[in-house]
Symmetry: C2
Subunit: 490 residues, 2 copies
């Protein structure tokens, strides 16, 4: 029955694909580049939505929904935007039985269609700030795709806001960046670097793009979320204006920010192991599985009854520290499958806690406790289990983050010259903190030479770039340098 | 500031549009036939999703997500299906900078793409039943569109299930139909008739389609949800087979069922009035607004403090009978707007309960209570308000349903001959229960003659059609007749 998962050390990308397919998180579809998100994967996305929605609402943002079709002419209104997205759009040219007069682009992102509405809704300073978010599917035609990480169609949230000043827009851009960082840490248990993108890597149409960058177990970077200060670029293109207190018409200043289903891929590559998915308890739908071990059929009723009683006690008592939900718990009474098979299966799909309960345990009023990320079996008195489970789920959430942070710290290097960088990158992977002259040509030549990209400029506590007195690690230029991180990335 | 809402008696369709636009529930978009769902409307959809998801989960169904692009060849595999949907699909022919080899249809519904995956996932009787649902956007190219009721792109849920026998598929089809009826009544406060569609009106590709039909305030019908027994039609087209216990390969039997954002339109046309939206408390995000009335600025602090205290007391005490949520409550301290303007605004957007609190009320330790659907002001002691509000919200939910049911009963007629039917339909609208010979040509001629359609066959408690001894009201045929409902519809 059970397929083998390729070990990480052998082939990391193959390991990732094995975990995604075998844990039934997603599947390839017959449509090139599009994936199917299966129930095990979609329930993670629903948890992400639930947690993100709470944070979005706390920031005063309201959800809405805009059309997925965008007139092609809209995309062309902002020069950098069309240059960035035109090569990867899908276009509807035929509908309702005939060719369309104006071709419709399937949204790759919604700044343009949303601005066409904002231009109508925003009239006065009283209408500002206008804070909107939508959960939607978007399409970007990709040549090389990978489940969750890069697919032609993906799911995301995209926030879009209007402000009366550039300063306020910048402040909100950073507020959302910080929210993403907190979300990555506390929900996904991923440790991320919040930084700023280079001119080459920023969003097409933005003044400035901020990012959170995570490190995967193979040392590669994953861009996990971005927040853009759009200045008045789209407002000018769509004439989104408001009458200010001084009775003058002014363009609004805008932000946009998004995270997508690629977070699921990043989360998998952060925590999982050679046995399958390791899922932070905050993202689990079922937190605990109880497996009654019944060597003889006659022992069944007593063990099942005890298992149900235990499940009820846990459900009643555990609404876990650090977890806002009631726990999900499943008692597996399937007699067609052997216990060993079940243990393997629940490890594969990442149930955080497994409890085994057999007739002898029952005599001793105990059960066997195993945490998915530790695999150490412990015998625990039944009466102590609810409290134990509550504590362990909270610890697991915390320790997964700590482990991810340690891994990143241990694989982040400061280097002063390009040759050392290139050699170390090839040997160890990881993040490289360097002194950097912001030279666009040099950035492109590094990418061409060793496939490393400028992940972000490192920021200080005020989210300003950090000046460096050292010469640029690539160009040797001495003045105006800042600290940047280079790495290979997904 | 305030625009006028056209009264219902004057022009019902214009009234509907006025309410939708002025309450900021939705807006027209620059893309033909597509709407924008604004935050006031989207929050209703989120409540619908939350309530529906709980019911779907209770039925053992799990959420997933499938690609929105469907290879055109898939659509053609089921003959009736392609005939039904081909005229209204939107087609992507160009993507990633070049013409596609195979054109991609934007899903009008997902039976075909989902079957292409089911065929892979279903191997054995152990994999059955397979119960899947997805929340998604779908596209059907429409010529005449109306906000929420009929738009080119709309949001919906579509359930898709596989079973080992036709009987089990039929049973699940009916289970979902009953769930929809219960949902319509208890959440939307809409009274619906559960019935079966005629051959002419059934889903393209189904063996049998069941429906819930609601009556709007103008006496017209609205199809509010459908549940289809697909038999093995799609399973045969996609070769979705399983190895049964008897070691034989068999095609699965399937169901599909869906409700969409048109429920919001139906809910509006069921409950709202000439002052704007009337929202069942179950669908409200903000249930109560407290408007402090401050005639002189100096009185402000005391009144605001009392309003905040009252809000806290209500929030603490009210987690309403019949409502599973904590109530949402807003204290409006905006001093730029007059109280009268605020009252009008909150009636327009349908806040279920309004509390007014002024300095004199405060002296008397009372406040003014008004329920949106009654508009009678009551003076209530502050100490009694939390209990009063809890009771009134529960009553409002119940009474809206009762009112909808009474309206439908009062506008449902039994007629025996076509001339009487046609005359009454023209004068009064409403539902017409008739004896019906199931003659497809006669059905089409009625539609052409007076725009009435066969809404459904009426069913008995076992969901079987009801035999009629009377002659058919149109053809005069005497044998094999059943009871059917004819009406004009949205």
């Amino acid at each position: 029955m059970a397929e083998k998962i390729t070990p990480r050390v052998e082939d990391f990308p193959q390991w990732y694909q094995d975990v995604v397919l075998q844990a039934k998180l997603a599947d390839y579809s017959p449509v090139k580049g599009c994936m199917v998100i299966r129930p095990n994967g979609y329930s993670i996305w629903e948890r992400i939505q639930q947690e993100m929605n709470a944070r979005i609402k706390d920031a005063g943002v309201r959800n809405a929904y805009f059309p997925m079709f965008i007139p092609e002419s809209f995309l062309k209104k902002e020069a950098e935007h069309v240059e960035g997205f035109a090569p990867e759009v899908a276009v509807v040219t035929y509908a309702g039985g005939k060719d369309l007069e104006e071709r419709l682009v399937v949204r790759p992102t919604s700044e343009t269609i949303i601005n066409s509405m904002f231009a109508k809704w925003v009239q006065s300073y009283r209408d500002l700030p206008l804070l909107i978010n939508q959960w939607a599917n978007v399409v970007r035609w990709e040549m090389r795709t990978r489940l969750f990480l890069r697919t032609t169609e993906f799911l995301w949230q995209e926030g879009h806001t209007c402000h009366s000043t550039l300063e306020e827009a910048e402040s909100f851009t950073l507020q959302m960046l910080k929210m993403y960082r907190e979300f990555a840490e506390n929900v996904l248990a991923m440790s991320v670097v919040a930084g700023r993108k280079s001119e080459a890597e920023k969003f097409a149409g933005a003044l400035r793009t901020y990012t959170i960058e995570a490190m995967m177990q193979d040392g590669k970077a994953l861009q996990a979320g971005t927040s853009h200060n759009l200045s008045d670029n789209f407002a000018k293109a769509f004439d989104t204006q408001f009458l200010d207190k001084d009775n003058k018409k002014k363009h609004v200043f805008q932000t946009s920010w998004g995270v997508s289903t690629r977070l699921i891929g990043g989360m998998i590559m952060t925590h999982s192991d050679d046995k399958g998915l390791v899922l932070p308890p905050m993202l689990a739908d079922t937190h605990i599985v109880i497996v009654p071990v019944v060597p003889k059929a006659a022992m069944g009723p007593a063990v099942y009854e005890a298992a149900d009683k235990l499940a009820a006690a846990i459900k009643e008592a555990v609404s876990v520290k650090g977890l806002p939900y009631r726990v999900g718990i499943h008692v597996d009474k399937d007699e067609q499958k052997q216990s060993g098979w079940k243990f393997h299966e629940y490890e594969l799909i990442g149930i955080p806690v497994r409890i085994e309960l057999g007739p002898r345990d029952l005599e001793k009023q105990q059960a066997v406790f195993t945490r998915r990320d530790k695999s150490v079996k412990e015998f625990i008195p039944l009466a102590d289990l609810p409290e134990k489970i509550g504590n362990e789920l909270a610890s697991m959430q915390k320790e997964l983050l700590e482990k991810a942070r340690s891994h990143r710290d241990a694989n982040t290097y400061e280097v002063d010259d390009y040759d050392t960088f290139k050699k170390m990158l090839e040997e160890k992977g990881g993040f490289y903190k360097v002194s950097w002259s912001k030279d666009r040509e040099a950035e492109e030549s590094i990418k061409a030479d060793c496939k490393a990209t400028l992940r972000c400029y490192v920021l200080d506590e005020n989210f300003e770039m950090i000046n460096s007195n050292k010469p640029c690690f690539k160009t040797g230029k001495k003045d105006g340098n800042v600290i940047a991180i280079f790495a290979r990335a997904y």
